[in-house]
Symmetry: C2
Subunit: 371 residues, 2 copies
């Protein structure tokens, strides 16, 4: 095999597929990126057996072939090659000895047989949806924080993607909170309901360009999901099973509705968190009276007290939260003002917009009023 | 005590003295910053008993007094106060309860008695030198990397500062290499020879503004060194004892002198280091022949080979180094071209300029030539 690249496009391709490299595996082939130039195009592929990424890159095929190269070594070598106009040549022989040349620098590394590399599973492209890269990336950012990645409950480490008519609903939850985004699609599609590993979504959101003009196609099969965009294909295994039923936890009833300036509300929660450490996990207590929200934390480190003006509808209420859970949700909301809906100090608080494009449910915590 | 500040100047002062806060101490008072407004000015002080920093800050004294406040808590609170025009008020009562107010945010924290705070030692200001802040900061940056901070030999964790006539010499060494900077002072001073802890120098270099127009005064006493600049005073204990004699290790003789482009030489060492990991510490082998420097590394991860053009005087030579030691020195040299002076493959290599403003000695390592 003999290939010629511009450093930039090669490095860019490596960066994309690198996200599927398993961080700790004992199998050398899983640490590798496959460079496949056996046909008329050059493809890079990496997989950790759950998540696989394949991308096409620009380059000149001087001799067909394929080779598997250690991903970390390849990435470091290409990254540190001269940033010049000169091109990068990769040549490998029958024993998989591989030379990487650029200007006056020459590396020789030992590759592995490309034939040993596990191909990505074949997915039928029958059922799909289409949305912009920006929309998908934002929806992931706005929900991924409330998965429970290391929980014993595998379901909580993923997100629900549910398609119904022209709505894509994305849900994540961790037992203390639920995040829901409803995305209006341009067309109507067949119903789908799958649970996608959180890792897959977070890696994809790093690759998506965030371009509103460019689309991503999502294909669904029984055990896999496939994302196709630009020159890249991402295939992930799905999490098997039935996702949590959340409909009975949601409600539009409320006794108190309060509208606050998001920035001001958030800054005060952020301040309150200074006094909350692992050794003293105190809640933030909100006292909502008339057009004022009083925010207060008291821990062994000290006390914080702040007043934020608000527009209130309904009853006065005193309610307490883990400040981190409020903050996580507020951080990803783009609106300048947010509405909180509460029933009583024991029932979930909802942060949602009028249009129903996002719903954040946060459970309150018990509290004791001290002076 | 009741004081009023602009957030900016208070935060800036805290940032300066914070560098003397001990990272792990069991004494609560050593975790504190002293705010002293018992006279007509406001001073912040922190000390870990070896290093002490004091800085004056702008502010309005509404009621004299002093208070010691937990440094980390104070820093976090002030940092997260609103970035507004409103001023910050700090009030403490007889029981050292302290209120920090800014706009609608109020913090209450427990302070400690300012009288418990250890004052910085008094230093006679008889013996001193004067140089620009930029010069001192650069000289520290260009030598600090070759101390051995955790070595059993305490002397190696500090740097020698030696004044003779109008020269300040700064030396650091770790057993494998020596870094020397000679700084031409504007005046002649009394001879001085002290060993300053590396921590002191690295913290000072973070506070120095790097302004060439502003000076720093350095005062010497038997056991301490004092740096005075802007509104800040830094006092540090010295390391006791006699520093290593290095004069007999230095030499101007050489058999080979080679001038290379620093950037190109450095980039290739950087590339070579990709193949060197903890599990396989191979040296970089330089083969200097005529006007060419061949650089080569072979490890279990692969091989790198690069040629760099050079101007050579004297004999051809083959010599090997720990690439990190070469790289550390080259990184801090500002010249575009550097000269390496070598005697033989077993003797130290010197990287120095004609003017003698810097000398880096690097010991070579043994090597085996493989193909």
């Amino acid at each position: 095999m003999k290939l010629q690249f511009q450093k930039e496009s090669l490095l860019n391709g490596i960066n994309i597929v690198f996200k599927a490299i398993a961080s700790n595996t004992s199998m050398p082939i899983l640490k590798c990126i496959l460079i496949d130039a056996s046909t008329s195009e050059i493809k890079l592929t990496a997989t950790d057996m759950d998540l696989g990424i394949e991308t096409k890159i620009e380059g000149l095929i001087l001799e067909h072939g394929k080779i598997a190269l250690d991903a970390k070594l390849l990435f470091e070598i290409i990254r540190k090659l001269p940033d010049s106009e000169s091109s990068v040549i990769i040549v490998s022989d029958n024993l998989f000895n591989t030379r990487i040349e650029c200007e006056n620098a020459l590396f020789t590394i030992q590759g592995l047989d490309g034939e040993e590399f596990s191909y990505l599973p074949y997915i039928e492209r029958d059922h799909y949806i289409c949305l912009s890269q920006l929309t998908l990336r934002e929806a992931i950012r706005q929900t991924i924080f409330s998965i429970a990645p290391n929980d014993s409950n595998k379901m909580m480490s993923g997100e629900l993607l549910e398609v119904h008519d022209n709505i894509l609903k994305i849900v994540s939850l961790d037992g203390h909170r639920i995040s829901i985004h409803n995305i209006l699609l341009r067309d109507r599609y067949e119903d789908q309901k799958v649970i996608v590993p959180g890792k897959t979504l977070s890696e994809i959101s790093k690759i998506l360009t965030g371009d509103n003009e460019k689309d991503v196609l999502i294909f669904f099969s029984k055990n896999h999901i496939l994302f196709e965009f630009d020159d890249t294909v991402v295939i992930s295994r799905l999490i098997e099973g039935e996702y949590f039923r959340i409909d009975h936890m949601l409600s539009n009833d409320y006794e108190t509705r309060v509208k606050v300036n998001k920035r001001e509300f958030m800054d005060n929660i952020d301040r309150a968190m200074i006094l909350i450490r692992d050794t003293d996990r105190k809640p933030i207590i909100l006292t909502i009276e008339d057009s004022n929200v009083n925010m207060r934390v008291k821990s062994s480190f000290g006390m914080m007290n702040a007043d934020v003006s608000a527009q209130k509808t309904g009853r006065d209420i005193m309610i307490a939260f883990n400040p981190k859970f409020l903050l996580d949700a507020l951080r990803v909301i783009d609106d300048e003002e947010v509405d909180l809906y509460m029933m009583n100090p024991k029932s979930p608080c909802f942060i949602r917009d009028e249009a129903g494009s996002y719903i954040y449910l946060v459970l309150p915590v018990n509290f004791i009023v001290e002076n």
